[in-house]
């Protein structure tokens, strides 16, 4: 009988040591998840958003450096506020939505990881695939905020219990690297595409 607390303690220690990463689903039922893009040039600037975001990220709050996963963006959800520009954006010279339905971001590893409380800052190393072209990227100063048990508070009293993971990052890719409107003069449309991502994933208990 005296052994029971000891067995319970040992079991707890084993569970703690072998804690597996939790899978966070980034298909946000609240529709908040957005990726913004911005192209600046002397003659014109183009800004827009995309909200068709899905993907899974494996995150272990006890070992955030082991974070991996991928985020997909439905290319048809990319939009700008001018209808003509939007048509061009979805067309074959730009994103060629008909042939390339997704943009893929994969997280391979985290470098320079610093964790304070529930916030982890790191340089995320991964790949981005656009129009069938894959390039390696490093998103410096990416923030991962782990919100333990906050899912119900976010989804309302009838919502499920669970955790949230918020990822905030900014990085730049080259339009020319991915064959996006490759014939377009860079005086009119910038080659650099600044991407800003603020997304929340949920993990149910």
């Amino acid at each position: 009988m005296k052994l029971l607390p000891l067995i319970a303690l040992s079991s707890s220690a084993i569970v703690h040591l072998s804690a597996n990463p939790v899978s966070f689903d980034f298909a946000d039922p609240k529709g908040v998840n957005t990726i913004s893009f911005h192209l600046d040039a002397p003659l014109d600037s183009i800004s827009g958003n995309a909200n068709g975001i899905t993907g899974l990220v494996q995150f272990d709050p006890k070992a955030p450096e082991r974070t991996t996963g991928s985020i997909q963006i439905d290319t048809s959800s990319l939009y700008v506020s001018n209808p003509t520009m939007n048509k061009h954006l979805h067309g074959s010279y730009w994103m060629d939505v008909a042939k390339n339905p997704d943009i893929l971001f994969t997280v391979e590893r985290l470098n320079n990881v610093e964790t304070t409380g529930n916030i982890t800052k790191a340089d995320v190393v991964g790949e981005v695939t656009i129009k069938g072209v894959t390039r390696q990227i490093t998103a410096e100063n990416t923030t991962l905020t782990y919100l333990r048990g906050k899912l119900k508070a976010r989804m309302g009293p009838n919502g499920p219990d669970g955790d949230l993971l918020v990822i905030r990052t900014k990085f730049t890719i080259k339009r020319s690297d991915f064959g996006i409107s490759a014939v377009q003069d860079t005086d009119k449309v910038a080659d650099d595409i600044e991407i800003s991502m603020s997304i929340a994933g949920q993990a149910l208990y």
Binding site: D44, S45, Y79, T145, A153, S198
Partner: protein, 83 residues
């Protein structure tokens, strides 16, 4: 007659400038929606919420200038013949 047509041209050019200024003097082309930033209180994510709204762009300036200029040139068809 020439004076009246020139006046119309002037008003059209001024209307183009006025519409552009009232639309916020935007540097880009016209838009049919406006993003209003909202805050998700739990995650503190700031996200854009799209609302339909027409905002004129630089086209109104160009259109005003072209129409105004056309009327100005047209007015010379009504010039008094030189004696």
């Amino acid at each position: 007659m020439k004076f009246v047509i020139q006046r119309i041209g002037l008003y059209l050019a001024a209307a183009g400038i006025l519409i552009w200024l009232l639309g916020g003097a935007r540097r880009g082309f016209y838009v049919i929606s406006e993003d209003i930033l909202k805050l998700d209180p739990i995650t503190e994510i700031e996200y854009p919420e799209r609302h339909p709204k027409f905002l004129p762009g630089v086209e109104s300036l160009f259109l005003g200038a072209i129409l105004g200029g056309s009327f100005y040139l047209l007015s010379f068809l009504f010039s008094k013949p030189l004696k």
